[in-house]
């Protein structure tokens, strides 16, 4: 709070000086954004690539972006990625599934130091599974910073574990300024889970880089090929594959399967292959690197997704971008992702999925499937990271105009919103957090913390120093006028 007056966010003129037109508001105002999540490179997945791509596009739009995550093995300290994207790998202990342990306190000194020296104005946390993201939200509110949270996953309401995590999410989000979900279904889910006002929840889908996923019909084999790329786990419906593969292989002699991905359910697929003697027709590729996914996808005609739950499903967009006919289960946000002429939706059962696949096969045989190039050209207009960044920027602008709840209001909100018991416990923790912060400010006042050199943003050293950066700056201009 103290340093905000000291020129924290006075980059760029205040929007009030300009005639009130949305365009000027969006292009003139820049923010100092800190993305926080436990999940980042070298870990690989949807959240990781979302953070990376979004940060790159925000940098392109002139914002200062830094990323905070925990140390991955030897990868610790500060690293710079493309375009001067600064990443802090913090020495926090990993507890489970690459998520750090949370005590709500131990990360405050480190995070405060970073927030102060980087002059951060907006904290953007990602993924409800990340303890660090929630910690950062908690500290940021104590420090009076604006907060944004992106939820990437769906959760049920039935079992004990989801009841507990939903309660924690309610606590974490009740005083967060804005929440971003990746699909409308995800928004409904998050609003219900955290008992939120739907007005402060925006839907901004994920995106796919269409230049990474281009079709290549010459790589296809003569016979029909169904491609599956997913982690081989229960939630991705790998069990359903064990029914689909033998059924379809018996019916179509010229049908092949290519399966990319690794996981505990791989053994089932191996058993099926053994049992039905399908070694030459079912290829199990094992774990794939993200850059290899395209080369696997283009070998097939049909893409099959058997997920049992999915907030957005990037895999089907990637497959459609490569020109494949997509067959998928109708779960979660999947029906929102692709228009009906590009996807065949089925119920999550062997029978329904086989019917969907047979429909796709008959279309393929009769030649009524659209050409891969044509599908690619349609899909590439749907989801782009530039669009995501533009929409996220609007959220930042809105949040920057809002006030952060002062301590007394925040306590009131916690107690009124999160139930009598949980509310009081977390209100108490918030008070402790505040006292701890006051202590830290007394130990090391904000004024003696060094200010970091901006790598990105309006005064970014990276863009001023390197010719490459300047070139990208030129790109930036063109993208703005577009």
């Amino acid at each position: 709070m103290a340093y905000q007056g000291g020129g924290g966010h006075d980059h760029g003129p205040s929007p009030a000086l300009y005639p009130v037109s949305p365009e000027s508001l969006f292009t003139c105002r820049t923010h100092n954004i800190c993305m926080v999540s436990d999940f980042f490179y070298p870990n690989m997945g949807g959240v990781e690539s979302h953070i990376y791509q979004l940060s790159q596009c925000l940098i392109e739009r002139g914002h200062k972006v830094i990323i905070v995550t925990h140390a991955y093995g030897n990868r610790k300290g500060i690293r710079y990625l493309t375009k001067g994207l600064k990443v802090y790998y913090l020495p926090l202990k990993v507890m489970y599934n690459q998520s750090t342990a949370t005590t709500l306190f131990h990360s405050l000194p480190l995070l405060r130091y970073i927030f102060v020296r980087e002059r951060v104005t907006i904290i953007h946390s990602h993924s409800s599974f990340s303890a660090m993201a929630h910690d950062a939200l908690f500290h940021a509110k104590t420090m009076g910073l604006r907060t944004v949270f992106t939820d990437h996953s769906l959760f049920g309401f039935a079992d004990v574990s989801s009841v507990l995590t939903n309660k924690l999410l309610t606590v974490s989000l009740c005083d967060t300024n804005h929440i971003i979900c990746v699909s409308y279904t995800s928004k409904e889910n998050t609003v219900l889970r955290a008992a939120l006002n739907p007005e402060i929840v925006s839907v901004i889908p994920n995106a796919v880089d269409p230049t990474d996923f281009t079709p290549d019909p010459f790589r296809r084999h003569g016979s029909m090929t169904i491609v599956i790329v997913s982690r081989l786990v229960y939630r991705k419906g790998t069990d359903l594959l064990s029914g689909i593969i033998p059924k379809l292989c018996r019916k179509y002699q010229d049908l092949n399967f290519i399966i990319g991905g690794e996981g505990p359910k791989r053994i089932i697929l191996e058993e099926v292959r053994e049992r039905y003697q399908l070694h030459d027709r079912v290829r199990l590729l094992g774990a794939l690197e993200h850059k290899d996914v395209r080369n696997v996808l283009v070998q097939g005609h049909i893409f099959l997704n058997t997920s049992l739950t999915e907030a957005f499903c990037m895999a089907i967009v990637e497959a459609a971008s490569c020109g494949l006919q997509v067959v998928s289960t109708r779960v979660g946000g999947i029906p929102e992702v692709l228009p009906e002429n590009l996807i065949i939706l089925c119920e999550p059962s062997v029978k329904s999925l086989c019917e969907g696949l047979e429909k796709a096969i008959s279309q393929l045989k009769s030649g009524t499937l659209p050409a891969p190039e044509k599908i690619h050209n349609i899909v590439k207009t749907f989801y782009t990271w530039r669009n995501v960044a533009e929409r996220t920027e609007k959220v930042y602008n809105r949040v920057a105009g809002e006030t952060v709840l002062p301590m007394d209001k925040r306590l009131e909100r916690l107690m009124s919103h999160c139930g009598p018991v949980t509310g009081c416990i977390f209100a108490l923790l918030a008070v402790f957090n505040f006292l701890f912060l006051t202590f830290l400010r007394w130990m090391i006042p904000d004024s003696i913390i060094d200010v970091a050199v901006d790598a990105t943003g309006p005064k970014g050293a990276w863009t001023n120093q390197y010719p490459y950066g300047r070139k990208r700056g030129g790109d930036n201009e063109t993208s703005k006028t577009r």
Binding site: S202, V337, S349, Y383, K394
Partner: protein, 297 residues
Amino acid sequence: MCAQPVTDTPETRWQKVLYERQPFPDNYVDQRFLEELRKNIHARKYQYWAVVFESSVVIQQLCSVCVFGVIWWYMDQGLLAPHWLFGTGLALSLIGYVLFDLLDGGEGRRKSGRTRWADLKSALVFITFTYGFSPVLKTLTESVSTDTIYAMSVFMLLGHLIFFDYGANAAIVSSALSLNMAIFASVCLASRLPRSLHAFIMVTFAIQMFALWPMLQKKLKACTPRSYVGVTLLFACSALGGLLSISVVGATLFALLLVSISCLCPFYLIRLQLLKENIHGPWDEAEIKEDLSRFLS
């Protein structure tokens, strides 16, 4: 957020799709928001008396433990001759054995393909071994203090009640563990009886009580629910009577426990059912309803 004014004409109807750029702000909330929300679709409507009937399984098991305790006390005090208990137990077991086949007309036996000879063999093997080892049982726990034995038995019997298969499909249910805990408790208690014959008969009785009796009960409940209710009442009364002859306070407390389980708990279950708010929607994880193991066998 800054966006064009929203007009709700048919041309600009909001769609629940992500691939189209719509003239609405990202945080727009349509009337159709949460329209697919369903509540309590799997919630069951309970009938009071049906729940009371189902609770009799718990009553039966509580009574089994109670009867077992009472019989052990009588044996320990020397008020009950082991021969008498053995005779009664044997007679009741034979009646139960005949009933077990009569109830479903021998269908269960045909399905399992188990012969009477096999039954007789296992009964003989069991009795011989228990009889042979009963002197060992007698001296097994001599070095352990009696208080420890009592405490252990209580915990084991509680465990038996917790893990018993009352028909609920839960992870905690394990009939094998439950039976083992009961037998362990009986071995502990039997080792404190005066002679090895007592110990042998106590363990045999435990087997009848905790292994054979629940099997017969299950069949009774499935085939003749009416007589099952009668048997439960009779069994509960005899357990109460037995306890009453030892301790009035104990019997009163036990009676209260039985009444609360069979009458109050069902009442609260039905009352609380009204407060149930189970939310379902498109975000729920889909369930695989088919049996997929057939593809692998």
